[in-house]
Symmetry: C2
Subunit: 381 residues, 2 copies
Amino acid sequence: MANRKGRAFPNGRRHSRKATRLRCLTVTNTICLENKTLSLMLQEIAEQPAALARTIDAEREKIARLGRLLKQRDIDLIVLVARGSSDNAALFGRYLLEITTGIPVSLSAPSVHTLYRAKLNLQHALVIGVSQSGAGEDINQVLENARAGGAYTVGITNEPSSAMVNVVDETLLMHGGRERAVAATKTFTGQMLLFYLLAEALAETRPAWSCAAIPDFAARALEQQPAILELVQRYVFMENCVVVGRGLAYANAYELALKLMETCYVVAERFSSADFLHGPVAMVERHFPVILFAPPGVMLPGVKSLIGRLQELHADSLVITSDLEAAASCTRAIIMPKEIDEFVAPIPYIIPGQLFAALLADAKGLNPDQPRSLSKVTRTL
Amino acid sequence: MANRKGRAFPNGRRHSRKATRLRCLTVTNTICLENKTLSLMLQEIAEQPAALARTIDAEREKIARLGRLLKQRDIDLIVLVARGSSDNAALFGRYLLEITTGIPVSLSAPSVHTLYRAKLNLQHALVIGVSQSGAGEDINQVLENARAGGAYTVGITNEPSSAMVNVVDETLLMHGGRERAVAATKTFTGQMLLFYLLAEALAETRPAWSCAAIPDFAARALEQQPAILELVQRYVFMENCVVVGRGLAYANAYELALKLMETCYVVAERFSSADFLHGPVAMVERHFPVILFAPPGVMLPGVKSLIGRLQELHADSLVITSDLEAAASCTRAIIMPKEIDEFVAPIPYIIPGQLFAALLADAKGLNPDQPRSLSKVTRTL
């Protein structure tokens, strides 16, 4: 539902998880998906609450044991290795792990290992590969090198029989079933969730957050679908945009931008609100579209100050937030439930982004399940 | 000079470093800068060979001593902290340091320290802040925290009396004089050069490369200016593009994209050739502009394979390379001297990029010295 200013508010309706067709009859007659088969991408977006709950149930105990083992090994560095959406999940993992465990984290540059063949000193390192398919040769080669060099290696994957499983010391699995859409959605949030479980297991003291409520918050986020279905009409001719997030929500900016590039062919830049001010803000002119993640927490004042700057520049801003002041200062807003705090926000906050990309692709007459030039597994070295 | 296909070749003329006006009388009469005062940005681009030579002379011995000191401290992690162009120099430093020293490198997320107030375990870490002005509060706060936590801290800056100098154990200075243009050029390559000196000093064995020839190669790169002055006319109406580099040249893609955003207001995405294939390639349609760094070395086959893919997609490609096959497969090329190998390429290869941005801004009727919404020092936390 959109109010008069076109802002999207939760409409209180529960999203039906068994639906294979869009249920909503929208208030305008320009939009009607009633008789269309839902894209795989939309189906898999909707599967996320259940997939997340299953992953918590299936993996929590194993990861707690892994945490106890790793604490004995005196890990002083965590290295994350990934590509594409998995690399965005790793970017989230980087913030969460550093903040929660105090162990420094490095996002690996695969070519240092695979092409320059450097031998890094990783003896007290935990090296984690993240790959939906577990088939990425570059990722697996880094894991093999790291293991040979003394690192403890972990694979995060959706495929229990993949090559990755054979090269790592321990595997963490998502339990959301095979992902059929080319654009990753449920595996992205599944990877994020495994980082929550791992951060919890590696923390010296019990963290202030718990991931137990995340599946329910993900379901609440899905309630935005009818509102976003209307909202996307406004963006059908958007050719480029900037997506902004920071801290724990920084990876959300990368992931939404990637989804917009993959499924809508929008040239979507991604920045932290701080980096954006160090140069790229010069691009912004009247009506330039900027999408912002503004969950509650320590990042919110900075994002709101950027929103003020965007108002001065007459930019066109779309914010995903539970802060009504931030919402009122933007051109459009997707309002999230107040109960979602900064530490659990990243998963529920990416869901409206996924819906936005999938529904915008549809509104543009594109099939989000068949992005041109892409296949599900990309092989690079 | 451009040949019939519009490709730019070195024309053998020496660039006059004392020139404050463009000397070239171009073959077309659409371009004539003869009577215009050169932008500060173009002046500072031209100052780079001399600035680089001075920095080597002034800093090499000090950095060699620092290297001996750090080897005694058993450094097992290097953390780099920066924003904007300095962060791009740090991204280069990350590859060079890992490849040359085998010590893992992490690019810091400042907000983990400044906003989430995490206490990272950095006892055996070398933490390096990179800031042209030395005034970035977030960078300095990370350095202070790291030093308090036992890390050895180094500042790389252009301002010997900046706040940064007072919070670090050691300072490495660029010696190219104050940078007056808002868009960083000579400080960017100066920062890169200091990473060369540091990598050399920290390496266990003498590296296969030497940075001694870099100032001369930078001067050779400046010879491209007349050719690029003509080339940019073709890009006056380019609204967005992708810039691709990988490995040691990955940071060049980030830096050229930032320059295009800051001075030309082009929405310029930046990717490694591998990451580009993991999703964003879907954006590419007929005539979509892609700029590629293709220096010689281990990355070249991958970049050439991407060029082949771009040909199939009928993209519009501009390559900076010394490989004539790569050049012939692209829509346009800037041909670099053959003698520049992969390890010394990053500095001379960014120079045609800097010239491209500065001259394109001018061709678009913009003043590259006054990017809208920017000032020389950006304060963020």
